[in-house]
Symmetry: C2
Subunit: 193 residues, 2 copies
């Protein structure tokens, strides 16, 4: 996605230790046109990859919500965002799985209420980053506990060098990343293509 790649190259900042700062258009500030375009692009590319009859978009809070809502608009299906803290409104019997936390170094539990995910749901997972793939893997595992099928995965930015694609390969579903970073170091940000 050209406009996204330009923004990454123009505004992205490498902060060391593999950390890419894209707060200006993904993790703190969002531009409505760019965000909604991401949703259409996910829909187009996943459809081209054979994904069809999608019934639900699922993401993990927080930074996944905006691109996932954009995808939900494009696919015209509901979006469910997995919670990281159990709200008092979530009943027992929720589907959950654990993933290493980026920010805290600990473990994050992703929780989805059985009220909004059914065995016959056909799910696309959308997230802001695909890095180690462990958050996405945890989401897939939580979703599969419901009996629902994961049809495809979309990430706004993939850090190609962190091996996430390999981690997700066993699930045998198409993975669409709108921009893939091949290398990230003090000399710059190097995108695929």
């Amino acid at each position: 996605m050209k406009t996204l790649k330009e923004r990454i190259l123009n505004e992205g900042k490498y902060l060391g230790k593999g950390i890419l700062k894209v707060d200006g258009f993904l993790n703190h500030q969002l531009h409505p046109d760019l965000t909604m375009q991401m949703g259409r692009e996910f829909c187009k590319q996943l459809s081209h990859a054979g994904v069809s009859h999608v019934s639900k978009i699922i993401t993990a809070e927080t930074s996944g919500i905006a691109p996932a809502l954009a995808a939900a608009v494009a696919f015209d299906v509901p979006l469910v965002f997995a919670r990281k803290k159990r709200p008092i409104t979530m009943p027992d019997g929720f589907y959950s799985s654990e993933a290493p936390s980026h920010t805290k170094g600990g473990i994050t539990t992703l929780m989805i209420s059985p009220e909004y995910l059914r065995a016959d749901d056909r799910v696309v997972i959308i997230d802001d980053f695909l890095a180690t793939g462990l958050t996405t893997k945890a989401l897939i595992e939580a979703i599969q506990k419901s009996g629902a099928e994961v049809l495809g995965i979309g990430a706004v930015i993939e850090k190609g060098f962190e091996g996430g694609r390999k981690v997700l390969e066993p699930f045998k579903v198409p993975i669409v990343s709108l921009a893939i970073i091949e290398r990230l170091d003090d000399t710059g940000i190097y995108l695929k293509d």
Copy 2:
């Protein structure tokens, strides 16, 4: 907003202690049409109330993000979501303010990076709920530290009986709620109008 009010009456559940569960369309699952309609309704009603030349939408993570993105689309301006944990990407000098936490009973700090909020910004605040008004008040205070002006406030659901409107009155800006709950008890959910 008629479709929203119908959903609240049909799907909302009163869980006791003033807690309204609307996870099916606001706090866990989102419907793209309904959500994007909220954004257009905020834009329409706030414009009618005299709000103009808006340059930024601001919300607090997590459940505010979706309706705020919808409002950002309608107003065609960027959205900034205040963070509750300081990400490693946020520089010093951020604007912050404290609010009581709904879920934890403690204190939540709302943080906005000075990179995405300027003294000449004209801000509309959007959130999922207006209850005690203390989260919105904290957001206003954080925003005002930047020199930016808050022009208006939009909430998807207002719990009219929790006094938030009174708390926000001193700021003298229009407050638009898409649905106002006047009473909430074991006998039902009672909406204004």
